[in-house]
């Protein structure tokens, strides 16, 4: 593995600087809550965070924390510790990082960022919407800490959920509410939940508008910066924080777009990034910018986080939101349709697919997507092989060679 990284220096958007403060405040709040004896749930991505907030339970996210560890170059020792405990190297590196953390034995444990995940968790909540790994992973955590676990089951959709699927998940939600009542020994406060859903919908709507604003030519903000802005959407949906943050971000973007201020001086190529970014090397996303290329759209940022809720029928609306518009929960056909639509909509010149060793659910079908792009739109694409958090198998020079060659290819197409 080659050594990487200059850290990100100047942001295109002033508001982006606030993301770091939000992150710090979240971590300090969650640790004080733990100290005060408030319940903490370890939650997987795409769980009903809004419900947790409605019950005054604070969620901590081992996946997101895995990304944080990776960005601080801690993934390798943690993954290695997990493997030494018998976990397979083929397991998702988010899980490996978490296992390395919670099963660490002996000296040499790295200093965990933000004081570590608040342990032990009081509750576990997960779903199989993104993948089955999460269920098995959470079962291991349950064994480790012997705490209650709630699973929200949801089927894979064909892009949009059917009436029966929505009914099923709405029913699941009601069961989760019953379990949360049992856990907290308190009555469900529906008004509070509906308020949380409204806030979540507002933040989700704002996020979609932000994605669309980035579709402007020139693009006002690149991918790397936006990856740092996604946290409130991951962890704080249902609270006021993401609503305020994204509204401010949107306003700043609107000003940039109106003034036609691009993130890079001359925008020659507009790129799309597919899959989870390389958290240990986000620099790769801005690397292309020195060559006049910019990532303006990411399947990960648009189709994993956020989303609208039909508030006229909140339970079913929420059930639908949880399942739909989630890349990981889309069939291949739906992914192809979505990709082609977005490449057109955001005026994309080329797509970079990250074939992610950890996340098979995200990576499967990328060769078909590549082919469809070429056949239907004549748009070239590139597949790079890496992992979202484990830098063990990643080679910087080989990846950059591919990216350089891809940019040359785009340049040559433009010239002739």
């Amino acid at each position: 593995m080659d050594k990487i990284k200059p850290r990100q220096s100047k942001r295109a958007l002033e508001t982006s600087y606030e993301a770091a403060q939000i992150l710090r405040a979240y971590w300090s709040d969650i640790h004080s809550a733990k100290e005060m004896g408030k319940p903490i749930a370890w939650a997987s991505g795409v769980v009903p965070t809004e419900l947790l907030y409605a019950f005054d339970i604070l969620p901590a996210y081992p996946e997101n924390y895995g990304a944080v560890c990776a960005s601080k170059d801690l993934a390798l020792p943690l993954c290695q510790m997990a493997m030494s405990k018998g976990f397979s190297t083929d397991l998702c590196s988010y899980a490996l990082i978490n296992f390395g953390d919670i099963f660490w034995e002996g000296p040499g444990k790295p200093e965990m960022p933000f004081g570590g995940l608040p342990a032990p968790p009081d509750l576990l909540i997960t779903t199989r919407i993104p993948c089955l790994v999460q269920i098995k992973w959470w079962e291991v955590i349950r064994e480790r800490y012997n705490c209650p676990m709630i699973v929200l089951d949801a089927p894979m959709t064909d892009g949009q959920a059917t009436k029966e699927q929505i009914d099923y998940v709405a029913d699941q939600l009601k069961q989760v509410i019953v379990q949360l009542q049992d856990f907290t020994h308190s009555r469900f406060n529906e008004a509070r939940f509906l308020k949380a859903l409204t806030l979540s919908d507002q933040a989700g709507a704002c996020w979609h508008e932000i994605t669309d604003l980035r579709g402007a030519v020139p693009c006002p903000v690149g991918s790397r910066e936006m990856c740092g802005n996604v946290f409130p959407l991951v962890a704080q949906l249902g609270t006021q924080i993401p609503v305020d943050f994204y509204r401010k971000l949107r306003a700043e973007l609107e000003r940039k777009v109106a003034a036609k201020t691009g993130a890079i001086p001359v925008e020659r190529f507009r790129l799309m990034f597919d899959n989870i970014p390389l958290w240990y090397n986000l620099e790769l996303l801005s690397y292309v910018e020195q060559f006049g290329a910019i990532f303006v759209f990411e399947t990960y940022l648009r189709y994993v986080w956020g989303g609208r809720i039909n508030m006229s029928d909140p339970y079913r609306g929420y059930a639908e939101k949880l399942m739909s518009d989630v890349w990981l929960n889309m069939s291949l056909e739906q992914r192809i349709k979505t990709l082609i639509r977005d490449v057109r909509k955001y005026k994309i010149d080329g797509v970079v697919f990250h074939s992610n060793r950890s996340c098979k659910r995200f990576s499967l079908g990328q060769y078909e997507l590549k082919e469809a792009l070429e056949q239907e739109l004549g748009i070239p694409s590139l597949i790079i092989e890496a992992d979202h958090s484990n830098p063990g198998g990643y080679s910087e020079s080989q990846t950059k060679l591919r990216i350089d060659a891809f940019l040359e290819l785009l340049e040559e197409r433009r010239r002739c």
Binding site: E385, Q398, A405, L409, E412, R415, C416
Partner: protein, 285 residues
Amino acid sequence: MLVAGVDAGSNTVKIVLIEGGSILANWISKTGPNSMKAVEKGLETILSEHGRALHDVHSIVATGYGRNYIPFATYQATEILCQAKAIRKLIPEAKTIIDIGGQDSKVIYADQNGRVVEFAMNDKCAAGTGRFIETLANALHTPLEDMGALSLKAEGEVQVSSTCTVFAESEVISYIAQGLPKPDIISGVHHAIASRVSAMARRREICKDVCLTGGVAKNVGVVWWMEKELGLSLRVPKEPQITAAIGAALIGLEKASPGSHDVPFADARAPEITSFARGREKPKG
């Protein structure tokens, strides 16, 4: 105008000087631990041999894995683009280029105009690269340069089935222990690399004229098996190891005359290695 193309590869450094639209000189040497030093030394040598100095060179274009570590290079370009540029001139009909180097192998697919439309690379492991042959040549106590000719003497076929170079090495050692003839084993080694690279090439439609470049293209045994695997006759440039450096120099010429994608290059139809020279008439297996 004198331009230099420098291919700072992982194993060898290749330098090509182009002047007046044809190759003035070329130079190949081991990269060693410091590619920048190797290039510096190579450039000095080749220039002084021709009575020139660095300041006579209009531009130096660097390619290869070390392309970003040559501080005196005027431009950088990837081997993929450079190969395409060179082959467009050397063998214009060839729209598929297979390059087998010391550390990786690549397949480059070009369109009618010779522009790269797609590429595939094997760089995750040594199988399918020159390193594979090098390791097994060591195991066989055979000089690398003799491997090709020796394999043509094969009477039978030995299968080297391990994809992993380390396992393939123990497989080969066990064949030696069994007393199997060396040429048969070497032929098996070549077959193994050829089938891996061909499989990568066939992921996409390949054209009728396929060009093979890179140091491994000098190995007639690999060429023979590649042809058999792909079911066609390969086009191998006269000096297949320097094509990326030629392409790099051609990019230097293009940059010197903006707007021109068709710089004059007189060596364009330099003779290729013929089937006869490759010993293709000798059936094996």
